[in-house]
């Protein structure tokens, strides 16, 4: 019967848990809290050794309820979490980290910092791999908070530098440098481990840049962007590009940075800048790449109605057609798109819609359609007809231009 009793106990525990879950999923936090108190009581009497530790569940459910309960406040939350920290050694760091997140989201940066410092000093036997990671994160977040206080002090110093006397300045400056050192050490540490560290990289580079250590900053950014162990994060390349741009690096290095971004994410917003940069280049190869980039951008559905991208393409196509050189570039780009671009971009539906919504978009698209598909193309016909009807000069010019260069269409599609 003791076995039966145990089973009953387990069953009622499970039932109680399901009630709690149910209430939480229906946002009935009060009801959930009531069930939760009895659940916790039940666990106190539970001497069974189960694989799944109930203390984790208590922590998770309890903090969720406290977050949403109408009468929950930060003070109560703190005391609950402090109890939770003592419950499980294995989860100590994780609970600390989540506690810090909660404090940060509630604007209690100071308390969060103290908690981080406390957690950092925690030692218990040998650390598992996960605990190691958590410890590194704790240090990194501490570094981040150090960085924020550094940047605050920096701003104060920069703004009110003149009106304060030198002694205060000096101590403030020293404090600021102290913050820098603490932040730099911790941030540098986490950047060695593969991961997505956008936040930390930005701060670290900002610190280094302020103290003029450009080489180190560049190295960090290069490592972050090009180390194959790191995920293919577009932001890594963006940061590198922005850094290079800030420091007036050569066009060549900027282009090579963006080229890699283009290979990774052809639909990135920087591709418009990239295209403009390549257009300005004297080299044929670069301009050829520019055409490729702008075509690739317009492949993506997110760019479908982007005026800027279409006008870029229209300009380059027009330039190529009027110069009469490099028509084969267009031909090459078009060959892999001619079976689906007409339905994707140049259908009658889109002609109508673009004309109604954005005239200059319709203009750019109509130009490209007229060149690529000839004057009989539905899109071109509709838009140029509407444009002429509305007596807009540029549409009349467009019509003349396309009519004149109708042979190009045959050469491209042939």
């Amino acid at each position: 019967s003791s076995h039966e009793h145990k089973l009953d106990f387990k069953k009622s525990k499970e039932l109680c848990l399901s009630y709690i879950q149910d209430a939480m999923l229906q946002k009935q936090w009060k009801r959930a809290a009531e069930f939760f108190t009895s659940y916790v009581e039940a666990l106190e009497k539970d001497f069974s050794r189960e694989r799944v530790c109930p203390s984790e569940m208590i922590w998770r459910i309890g903090s969720e309820i406290l977050c949403h309960h109408s009468q929950g406040n930060v003070k109560e939350f703190n005391s609950f979490i402090e109890q939770m920290k003592t419950l499980g050694v294995k989860r100590y760091l994780k609970v600390c980290l989540e506690h810090v997140f909660h404090l940060l989201c509630n604007g209690l940066v100071e308390e969060a910092y103290q908690n981080l410092a406390l957690a950092e000093s925690w030692r218990f036997g040998e650390q598992t791999a996960i605990q190691d990671q958590e410890m590194k994160l704790i240090q990194a977040y501490r570094g981040l908070l150090d960085y924020y206080s550094w940047s605050k002090q920096k701003n104060i110093l920069l703004e009110g530098g003149e009106c304060q006397d030198g002694l205060d300045d000096l101590s403030a400056e020293q404090e600021m440098h102290g913050c820098f050192r603490k932040a730099a050490v911790n941030l540098k540490e986490i950047l060695k481990v593969p991961g997505v560290w956008d936040l930390f990289v930005k701060c670290y580079v900002d610190l280094l840049e302020f103290y003029g250590d450009h080489e180190e900053a560049l190295q960090v950014l290069n490592e972050y962007a090009y180390n194959s162990k790191f995920p293919a994060n577009p932001n890594a390349h963006v940061y590198l590009y922005q850094f290079l741009k800030r420091h007036g690096e050569s066009k060549k290095s900027l282009i090579s940075a963006l080229k890699i971004l283009h290979d990774l994410v052809p639909s990135h917003e920087l591709m418009i800048d990239f295209h403009a940069m390549l257009q300005k280049s004297k080299k044929r190869k670069k301009r050829r790449l520019g055409l490729e980039v702008i075509f690739a951008v317009l492949d993506y559905s997110g760019w479908k109605e982007n005026v800027k991208a279409w006008s870029c393409l229209a300009r380059q196509v027009k330039q190529i057609v009027t110069s009469g050189k490099h028509l084969e570039w267009i031909k090459q780009e078009w060959s892999s798109r001619k079976d689906w671009w007409p339905a994707f971009h140049f259908s009658r539906y889109w002609a109508k819609r673009n004309w109604q919504q954005n005239e200059s978009l319709a203009y750019g698209k109509a130009l490209v359609a007229g060149i690529l598909l000839g004057k009989e193309c539905k899109y071109f016909k509709y838009v140029s007809h509407q444009g002429c009807k509305a007596q807009l000069k540029r549409f009349r010019v467009l019509k003349r231009f396309v009519n004149k260069n109708n042979l190009v269409y045959l050469r491209i599609s042939g």
């Binding site: 999923l25 946002k27 989540e98 997140f101 909660h102 989201c105 293919a232």
Partner: protein, 934 residues
């Protein structure tokens, strides 16, 4: 297409999933994940942080207490689903295997046995014919007759025929040596049957010998082949019982109107008996509050079901356009391209595509159908190009299907992508680039360029350490979330839900443990506008769970899961709000409502400041239920005049108390129930009440001769005749003395203890002796009372008999009869009583019973002895009360005929009102046609 300037921090490492994944049942709660600085304004005094999970989401409150049926119940002849006990081993063997912790064991032998018994002609047909002469099933000794023309008993079919049949046949000389006597073998088989479940049963040597001899040649279909097929089928059934992935994606689609202000859209769903009718509600489903009168009329003409104006509840208008298809519809997917809706429909071996012009009310046109050799597992419609779809089959092939250019195979690989997994399930969907498709199997997702699928591809998601997966985690449903953001994808597994961005492959930008009891097979996205959150609905099949999540970000800000997840009503949840039912009706209803879900769709309705989300859920039986969620910022609806008149209570507060459904919903439940019972009661086999033939009971003369014996006899005979003509039964044989006793007196109150506890209590308190005294005296008193009661009854019976004074009957028989009528009188089964014989029928006295039934009176009527028993049985049936009313016979509609493999013997609450002979035949479960006993 902007990318967030900074993403939430996360570790990244490659490799197989970690071993110590946290699989607590509450894994989704209490985590913020990470934090990120909100806005990059350093000049602010304090930096603000935002969590990855948490924060305030939009508030969507359910508007009613439960889901409400949208359409009348699907008229499927619904067969109760296969249950594990139908195909698994029971009894000794199972217990033995269970002890060894072996996985479930399929009862393969039982299935094969059923097949042999149900289809003997197919199994032993021709060999049975051939061996016909050589088997002898008679009881007599096998002898050889010399003279030609002597009839000799011979069997017709070996094994299958239980009794011997006699057919004239002349044995020829010498056949003694080529004929064997099977009777002993049959007896042994019967004995074996009787010992079923016995621990120590051994096959007798004779049986072993016989099976050894015949195994190879007796069967029409080679036994090995047949066994292989049966086993394969069983395995498949078992696998689909554990996890049925053929429904992935769901078979319900909502086509929103082009203009969001319009309140009607189209619902596409499967219907019909085999779920093979594609139904498209052309006139749409109106979501609005105001209804015009014309719609209402149209409705009452067509369906006759929803002829009530239901405010606040979505409403089907008109009858759907139906297309009959060649197989069960497994998936319906739809996309809106260039002002038209394209609807893709997948059944196992066929996929079809329909086009639906944007204007409401125009019939959809079928465009193309393809047939596949292997079952198709996925069909998705391109949101970019009109008439383009992607198809996957279980052979591992992925096709891009264009209505104009045909099929284009992108990949054919029976192996899974990242590691080995046995599942043949494949999925594919579209991405931000119209020529790039995502392909998925259980191990992850890859993106392929359709122009060069072999060369250009990249990994989007992998079950592994990269995404922080657990061991054993598998992809269940990938979905392209292009309507929220062109580069977003959703992946669900049995544990978690992931949001991916194709610009940052392999690293899920959001991950959350969904804690659902089953793997989410259905998902629906309702994109939010600028600054709003995207709403993702997840649905499971077996448990009918529905979960609403909200996420935002992806453009400028990083991805965040906002607000707590929210559980929505399931179909089964409305059971408690339905009117009270009789227990077996309740059970049937419960079964019907808790059938696995088969699809999910949602419609967003914007009505000025008010926003509401209507969620539709489809069940495998074809029923569609819906529920409305109101956006919290929305104003309470202004009641129309009509409302105020009819339902003042539910409109009094903007949020009706959610414990009870609104009046409108209750009305709908009632209509739905009525329609359901009507649909289920239509079963032709069971509507006619059991009939008895009176030809063999009495000859015409027998009935004639006794005319005028007494007025009572005459009356009884008249009732009998009338009842037989009407096919009903006679009620009222019972007298006040034989009235069914009222409800049994309740047992001792719950506090009362059983004898053991009282005795122990007494022993504990020390006065055990007193207890014994009390008990024995109590027993004595009880016995005395019983004795007195019996005597009184006997006296009364004797007195009654003396009234008739025409005969004496044995007392035992009388008590037998009273026992019968006492116990067999059923409680009334349903509020609708059986049609009784017209006119008031005064209760018949028991005298009549006895007079009619006593053997003496029967003998004097010249009824032969062997028919007397029959007559008694017959009349006792009549005294038992009405047979089951037609309404409740729906219970029988779900008894599947056991054929071959689908052997789900539903356990049906057996109605007590059936005749004895019928009940006994029903207790023998494997007899197909119940014998009526006459």
């Amino acid at each position: 297409m902007e990318f967030p300037a900074a993403l939430f921090p996360s570790y990244f490492s490659a490799g197989p999933p970690r071993e110590d994944g946290d699989s607590t049942p509450a894994a989704g709660w209490g985590e913020h994940g990470q934090v990120l600085e909100a806005g990059s304004n350093h000049r602010q005094a304090e930096t603000a942080f935002v969590p990855r999970r948490g924060g305030m989401g939009e508030s969507w409150e359910p508007a009613d207490a439960a889901a409400v049926p949208l359409l009348p119940p699907n008229a499927s002849r619904w067969i109760s689903p296969l249950a594990p006990q139908d195909i698994l081993y029971h009894g000794v063997l199972r217990r033995k295997l269970w002890a060894g912790k072996t996985a479930a064991t399929l009862d393969f032998a039982k299935q094969l046995g059923h097949f042999f018994v149900d289809h003997p002609e197919d199994v032993f047909g021709s060999l049975g014919q051939l061996l016909h002469q050589n088997f002898f099933l008679g009881n007599s000794k096998l002898r050889v007759s010399v003279c030609v023309g002597v009839t000799t008993p011979l069997p017709t079919l070996p094994l299958s025929a239980a009794g011997s049949s006699f057919c004239p046949f002349s044995l020829q000389r010498g056949s003694r040596h080529s004929t064997i006597r099977m009777t002993a073998l049959m007896e042994e088989i019967d004995r074996l049957e009787a010992r079923r479940g016995c621990h120590k049963r051994h096959l007798t040597p004779r049986l072993r010998w016989f099976s050894h001899l015949c195994r190879d040649w007796l069967f029409e279909v080679p036994l090995g082949l047949l066994a292989d097929c049966v086993h394969e089928e069983l395995l498949q059934q078992w696998a689909s019982l554990l996890f049925n992935d053929s429904l992935t994606g769901g078979a319900l689609a909502w086509l929103p109107p082009e203009d969001t202000g319009v309140r009607t859209g189209c619902l596409v769903y499967p219907g019909g008996q085999a779920m093979n009718h594609l139904c498209i509600l052309l006139h749409g489903v109106s979501l609005g509050r105001e209804r015009s009168g014309s719609c209402c009329n149209a409705l009452s003409q067509h369906t006759g079901f929803q002829d009530v104006v239901l405010e606040e509840l979505p409403h089907a208008q008109g009858s759907p356009v139906q297309f009959e298809l060649n197989g069960r519809i497994q998936q319906v997917s739809a996309a809106w391209v260039d002002g038209e809706d394209f609807i893709g429909v997948r059944s196992d071996y066929h996929c079809g595509v329909w086009r639906m012009p944007g204007r409401v009310g125009v019939a959809p046109t079928p465009l193309q159908v393809i047939r596949t050799d292997m079952p198709a597992s996925c069909l998705t419609v391109s949101p970019h190009l009109p008439g383009e779809l992607s198809v996957c089959t279980q052979s591992g092939a992925v096709y891009l299907w264009n209505v104009e250019t045909g099929l284009h195979r992108l990949r054919c690989d029976p192996q899974t992508m990242f590691f080995r997994d046995h599942s043949p399930w494949r999925w594919s969907d579209f991405t931000a680039h119209p020529r790039v498709l995502s392909c998925a199997d259980r191990t992850g997702l890859q993106c392929l360029d359709a122009r060069a699928p072999k060369r250009c591809h990249f990994d989007l998601f992998k079950v592994g350490e990269e995404a922080g997966c657990q061991q054993g985690e598998r992809v269940v449903l990938p979905m392209y979330l292009g309507r929220a953001h062109p580069s977003h994808h959703l992946v669900t597994t049995q544990f978690s839900v992931y949001i991916l961005d194709e610009r940052l492959p392999m690293v899920p930008v959001l991950k959350w443990a969904h804690m659902m009891k089953d793997a989410p097979l259905f998902a629906h996205l309702t994109p939010g506008g600028l600054g709003r959150s995207h709403k993702v609905l997840l649905g499971t099949s077996r448990t009918q769970e529905l979960l609403l999540l909200q996420y935002q970000g992806g453009n400028q800000s990083a991805y965040q899961l906002v607000g707590p997840p929210q559980k929505l009503h399931s179909i089964a949840g409305c059971l408690q709000h339905l009117p009270a039912q009789l227990p077996h009706h309740h059970h049937l209803l419960q079964q019907r409502l808790s059938i696995p879900a088969a699809g999910l769709a949602a419609a967003l309705q914007e009505d000025g400041p008010c926003e509401s989300l209507t969620v539709f859920q489809l069940s495998e039986a074809g029923d569609i239920f819906c529920q409305r969620l109101a956006h919290e910022a929305a104003q309470p609806p202004t009641p129309t005049k009509r409302d105020e008149a009819t339902q003042p209570t539910s409109r009094a507060s903007p949020h009706p108390s959610l414990a009870v459904p609104s009046l409108a919903a209750a009305l709908r439940y009632r209509h739905w129930l009525k329609a359901l019972s009507k649909a289920c009661g239509k079963h032709p086999q069971h509507t006619c009440p059991p009939t008895f033939s009176q030809k063999r009971l009495f000859t015409h003369r027998e009935l004639e001769t006794q005319a005028g014996s007494s007025a009572l006899h005459e009356q009884a005979r008249q009732w009998l005749r009338q009842a037989m003509q009407e096919g009903g039964s006679i009620r009222g044989w019972d007298t006040p003395a034989f009235q069914p006793s009222p409800l049994p007196t309740p047992l001792e109150p719950a506090g009362g203890m059983d004898s053991l506890s009282t005795r122990l209590t007494a022993a504990w308190s020390g006065d055990w002796g007193q207890w014994w005294e009390e008990r024995s005296s109590f027993n004595m008193a009880q016995r005395q009372r019983a004795l007195r009661e019996r005597r009184r009854r006997q006296k009364r019976a004797r007195g009654r008999r003396s009234l008739s004074a025409s005969f004496t009957s044995s007392l035992t028989y009388q008590s037998e009869l009273s026992e019968l009528s006492d116990t067999a009188l059923p409680p009334p089964l349903s509020p609708t009583q059986l049609p009784r014989p017209a006119g008031p029928s005064p209760p018949l006295s028991p005298v009549l019973d006895e007079a009619l039934l006593s053997s003496q009176s029967l003998r004097c009527r010249g009824i032969p002895k062997e028919r007397r028993k029959m007559l008694r049985d017959y009349l006792s049936v009549c005294t038992e009360g009405p047979p089951e009313p037609p309404g409740s016979q729906s219970s029988q509609a779900c008894i599947p005929h056991s054929q071959g493999l689908s052997l789900s013997q539903a356990c049906i609450p057996h109605s007590q009102g059936l005749s004895l002979s019928q009940a006994s035949s029903a207790s023998r479960p494997r007899r197909k046609r119940p014998r009526m006993g006459f």
